[in-house]
Symmetry: C2
């Protein structure tokens, strides 16, 4: 029809115009824009730079079911000031940094394009931070900036006080590019619409351009052909009839885009005969599904603390709860950063250091399909997309319980303008009905003793939505000194279109690379690896890593009626290679980080142990390009000497990196680590063979590992916690409406 | 002093008299005692037969901090009647069985000693139970009885209606003895006091007899010397100055006792020079420790459901919650038995079978010290002590949250008298603040979607205190169809006395077999294995076991820029040996129980998968006597064809068994298991190297594994659950006192 054709035509025009506008928009001209704070309502799931105009989307309902989250400060953070050496950059500081940067002569050429990929706190030296006490003046505030200017990537540091900018290009890695900006991702997702061939192909597949949504998929690195250019692959979906467009891929259609120019470089359609899967039963929004009455039988249930939470957040970032104290902040790349975690000794009352800094350093998500539209899907979500940039505001009653407190993040757009990601982190006390410790005397002794204590913990949570997938990261602190790091996977599968609608139609020999989840829908097999950076400081910085092997001992003839038993054999790792650990069920060890300079009353070195779980390991070839880049997953545990430049397991610049700046490379130096300031790296792994229960959205799957005191305390630190008494518990009645 | 010596003398006399009395007491004379129900107050931590008088104990405070638990029926259960074919024997039925047994001519000889080691429901054939519908008459009620009469063990079945007793001695295993009676354990723990040498040795070690408490420790089996006699080893502790006498062993003193005559057979003291560890800081009772104010900072917190729980318990044993329904009962040997677990299909509304029966079949707890006083400590807590017999009443506010419902157990004393173990099981809904599923759209797509759902589960809990150790067993049911089986370890370590009070005093070569936890106290290394019986019935009884291996595939040259990927390879286990699984981190598999006769809409066989965790494996020699008896831990997963006589992984008679009736032996028959009624066995394992935090009582350590739907549902079964809304949540205020 006339109207239809005209609409398409104008849409194409619009798209082309948009992209051209973009190329211009991303190259602001000096003088820089006046410093502004982007306007981001607490419900806005994303923010954008003032130079950016979003593409029109079909109107969609916002679902929140929630009161606004309680945060320390509902203001726009414009007046925040740093109070701790590790506090993240404030809005004012970011604006100052931006001004300093944009007036630096690197940026003098007003026609030179630029983008600021990251502006983050350049943390003071560890020694300075450790010496600092509340009330002292802060060490000089410095920012680290990654900028693209005149087509070149630079690493800059800015002294915020003096405004002095220093170029530290020696920190620019040999290969790879920095984390994409949100604007990179957005622009890339529309770039294909400037390509007439793409548009006609999409329509040829039966999808209206106005129903087409595209995703920017990092390309990884697969050899020379892809070097020297910042590239991204874009694949598209039909949004017709569902918000869950991920279930409706235009399979096989892949557009290669130059991220700097946003030009389409290459274009393939390997799936012309593959139908677009149906929209029916794919939407998951509460407003659209009729609630299943049979599941709606659960009476209201909630964690209640009518006297309020037991923790405080001092100066915006210092969390104090029960016997714990730590510094907490949002980070654009890592998501959540926990620093200076200290636990109170129940005997001396002193706050004892446990961990200087911990965060999710990198993720690695290889899909297991070598075909054209899939082989490159080997994501590194922190370094490529920004794990924190993708962390959306949490839903106060459903992502976190009602007793939660919320913390915002302050990030920057590509032009350096700060914006607030509200309710990005929640903190709450959890009680699941579990038991902290218990003992009852049995009929055998007949002593009438019944002692049990409830287990209450403190949870710090963030959730990142990297396109389809949702990662829930929990830091759980226990009063017994244990820290549990838990990662939950939910969200939506990255699925593959297929001509098959039933497994019976598939020829016996054909490998689907996954499971048929619905008609024409395959859930492709993939792994998830989440690598944590854990700078342990057990009662001080100088620690050692001990493998406590459990070895089978044979008794000698006549020694005992027993023929065998397990013996604990302690081995100190002297160098990095001795601390590279591949877990084995039948060759078990404990992994202790101890302070060799401090012993308990009875002579045990004080320590914490890493208690592994979620042990799925990567089985890819070590020389497979993605595994080279994800080489930090070659072992489940690594230990390196502290080095402030070694924080990102995949390297500082991960995007299209070739793997020469990874944890695996650093560790090969085999530096001494005994009685030194050491960093432990642990990788949580998941193998995921999708099943129909994952369609159209996945019930959360979790795995966790623990940092657990081992002879750190002289005795059970919660021996003296009180039990619950009826008289102390809240008095509740049903909600008025209920 | 005169008085002191006289006191000792009379105590010895008293003890001797007591034991003689006992031998008599345990041999009641026909006619049997009139049927009685033992009087067990709901707070009594144990019950005893009417023929038993407890030894005087120094008075001790009873600590409960709790209102009486809510149970379906606070009565004495005297009027209970069975309403489901799997309901446990009622008080009336037990009394009827007892009468039938004691009038049988086996028991005619009034001078013949007897003891009834167990009286339990002889479950009707599975086919009958599956056919039964509510309202139908119950299949004939039968009891299975293990009796010791005239020094011989007999297995009897009793038709409760007719009172006909059948002797089925073919079920008596070649070796081993049945689970001890509580009276066995009690009597054994005093038997040593009849031995003057023992008494003088104890006093020689500086412990008053009146301060001496002894434990009955199963001997295991270590060859011919120990055959033909029912033996037990008894070790003792000083109760002076602490309720936690486990921390004050009279190390090295071991008394071998004949369990039938209660005579001391042998006696060794290998520890005359080892001091009794001090009592200071070992007590854990709330009444005695001053609460640590620094930990007492947690405001009251509780799971609240002002509209009440969402589940019902019908006819005393059928639990219905959300989309789940199952039969639940207490068992003297297994603890908790879950039967006929069925989940509702959200599309058809039908209740679909998942598991016919599941329970903790056996435990195996080998200590890792080959020396005289320790080598034999290789406990099998279910078959030797009775996992249910040792399950004490739960503390309503501290073992289970306030919203819990409690279920009693009905067990029998050695003379066949029934008694009630009240509040033995609790059932409650848990909400920890976790997320059932979520997705938010990211800045990349810019669609404003925020959907999250809270995760609420149903927990069934029991806690067994096998002397020092406490095992918390949770069955957790999730609305997404997942069943989590969790075992928590708490309670008190079995510790070893040592001359050393500091690690520095220990010669480098000496192996302590554990960790110095306090002056003169070693926590000995040990393992825990908990083996679950899981009779899976996925949509019917005929199922198959599939190993879905994740194999590395190499791409052929030129096929793809990728060199490798993972491929899922399905292998059906045709026979038992093909289903013996040792887990390997670097050779991963999924383990599916499927119904090959039923497929989903898109052609996947419906199934559940066993998701392993807590994978510690036994490393003892396969031909080490304890490992022969505990051979059911040789693999983590086994699958056997259903056989009603194969329920106890260590055999029917485990005590002093020689290992010829274990799961490992059955599995060696290598019977076909494809498309058959199959039973899956999973062993949760723990290696425990004690640390000072475990002293004097252990913070709970947990591990769990999952039974998870895999293509069982057509799609996410909780897609349609509603989110939380503020308006539905309870309104709470602090307790009056707070």
């Amino acid at each position: 029809m006339e109207g239809r054709r005209f609409f398409r035509f104008s849409l194409i025009l619009f798209s082309v115009a948009l992209v051209l506008f973009f190329v211009w928009a991303n190259l602001p001209h000096a003088p820089p824009h006046p410093a502004v704070l982007l306007d981001c309502a607490s419900d806005a799931s994303w923010c954008f730079s003032s130079t950016y105009r979003p593409r029109k989307q079909p109107p969609r309902t916002v679902i929140t079911n929630s009161r606004p989250g309680k945060t320390a400060d509902r203001s726009d953070h414009a007046s925040d000031t740093p109070r701790h050496p590790l506090d993240p950059l404030t809005v004012q500081e970011i604006n100052r940094v931006r001004t300093s940067i944009l007036t630096h002569n690197l940026f003098a050429d007003s026609s030179a394009p630029y983008a600021l990929h990251s502006i983050s706190l350049d943390e003071p030296d560890k020694a300075l931070v450790l010496r600092w006490r509340k009330g002292n003046p802060l060490p000089p505030r410095r920012a680290s900036v990654v900028a693209r200017v005149s087509g070149r990537f630079r690493v800059l540091t800015v002294d915020i006080g003096s405004g002095v900018v220093e170029v530290v290009d020696d920190e620019v890695p040999a290969s790879g590019y920095p984390t994409m900006t949100i604007e990179d991702m957005k622009s890339a997702s529309w770039a294909p619409f400037s390509d007439a061939k793409f548009n006609s192909t999409v329509e040829g597949r039966g999808v209206k351009l106005s129903d087409t949504a595209c995703l920017p998929l990092s390309t990884g690195w697969y050899g020379a052909a892809e070097e020297g250019m910042r590239l991204i692959k874009v694949q598209c979906f039909s949004t017709e009839g569902t918000a869950n467009f991920y279930m409706r891929p235009i399979e096989g259609l892949t557009v290669l885009v130059d991220l700097d120019t946003m030009r389409v470089v290459d274009f393939v359609d390997k799936g012309p005969t593959i139908p677009i899967p149906k929209a029916a039963n794919t939407d998951y929004r509460f407003s659209l599904v009729d609630v299943n009455q049979q599941l709606n039988l659960i009476n209201p249930i909630s964690i209640e603390q009518p006297k309020g939470p037991s923790f405080v957040v001092e100066d915006g970032h210092t969390v104090k709860w029960a016997n714990w104290e730590f510094h907490l902040k949002a980070d654009a790349r890592a998501g959540v950063v926990v620093s200076q975690a200290r636990v109170r000794d129940p005997e001396t009352g002193e706050m004892r250091p446990v961990m200087y800094k911990g965060f999710t350093s990198e993720l690695f998500v290889p899909y297991m399909d070598p075909t054209d539209a899939w082989y490159f899907k080997t994501y590194m979500d922190a370094g490529e997309y920004g794990f924190g940039l993708q962390a959306m505001p949490l839903d106060p009653l459903n992502d976190c319980p009602r007793n939660a407190y919320f913390m915002d993040g302050v990030f920057t757009a590509a032009d350096g303008t700060p914006y607030v990601r509200s309710n990005m982190i929640c903190i709450y006390e959890s009680y699941a009905g579990d038991i902290g410790w218990r003992h009852m005397e049995s009929p055998i002794t007949g002593m009438e003793i019944r002692e049990a204590r409830p287990k209450v913990t403190l949870v710090v949570r963030m959730a990142a939505s990297v396109a389809n997938y949702d990662y829930i990261v929990d830091w759980e602190f226990q009063t017994d000194g244990l820290i549990r790091l838990k990662v939950g996977l939910s969200g939506i599968l990255m699925i593959k279109g297929t001509p098959y609608s039933n497994l019976n139609d598939v020829p016996g020999q054909e490998d689907l690379h996954g499971t048929i989840l619905s008609e024409n829908v395959i859930g492709v097999i993939h792994d998830h690896y989440v690598t944590f950076y854990l700078d342990m400081d057990i009662d001080g910085s100088d620690n050692s890593f001990i493998k406590v092997g459990m070895k089978k001992e044979q008794t000698s003839p006549g020694e005992s009626p027993r023929r065998s038993y397990l013996k604990a054999v302690r081995n100190v790792a002297r160098t990095e290679k001795e601390a590279q650990v591949k877990l084995k069920v039948y060759d078990p060890s404990e992994f202790h980080v101890i302070n060799p300079n401090k012993k308990t009353r009875v002579g045990n070195p004080v320590g914490y142990k890493i208690v592994p779980a979620g042990t799925a390991a990567s089985l890819l070839d070590l020389d497979d390009p993605p595994q080279k880049r994800g080489a930090f997953t070659n072992n489940q545990i690594w230990v390196t000497p502290y080095n402030r430049s070694e924080q990102w397991a995949g390297g500082l610049f991960v995007y299209q990196s070739q793997g020469e700046d990874t944890l695996a490379v650093w560790s090969e130096r085999d530096r001494p680590i005994e009685n030194k300031d050491i960093v432990v790296w642990y990788t949580l792994g998941f193998h995921h063979i999708p099943c129909q229960e994952d369609f159209p959205i996945m019930p959360t799957v979790s795995a966790s590992f623990d940092l657990k005191p081992v002879n750190f305390f002289e005795s059970n630190p919660i021996l003296r916690i009180p039990p619950n008494f009826e008289k102390d518990l809240p008095v509740c009645k049903p909600a008025a409406s209920a």
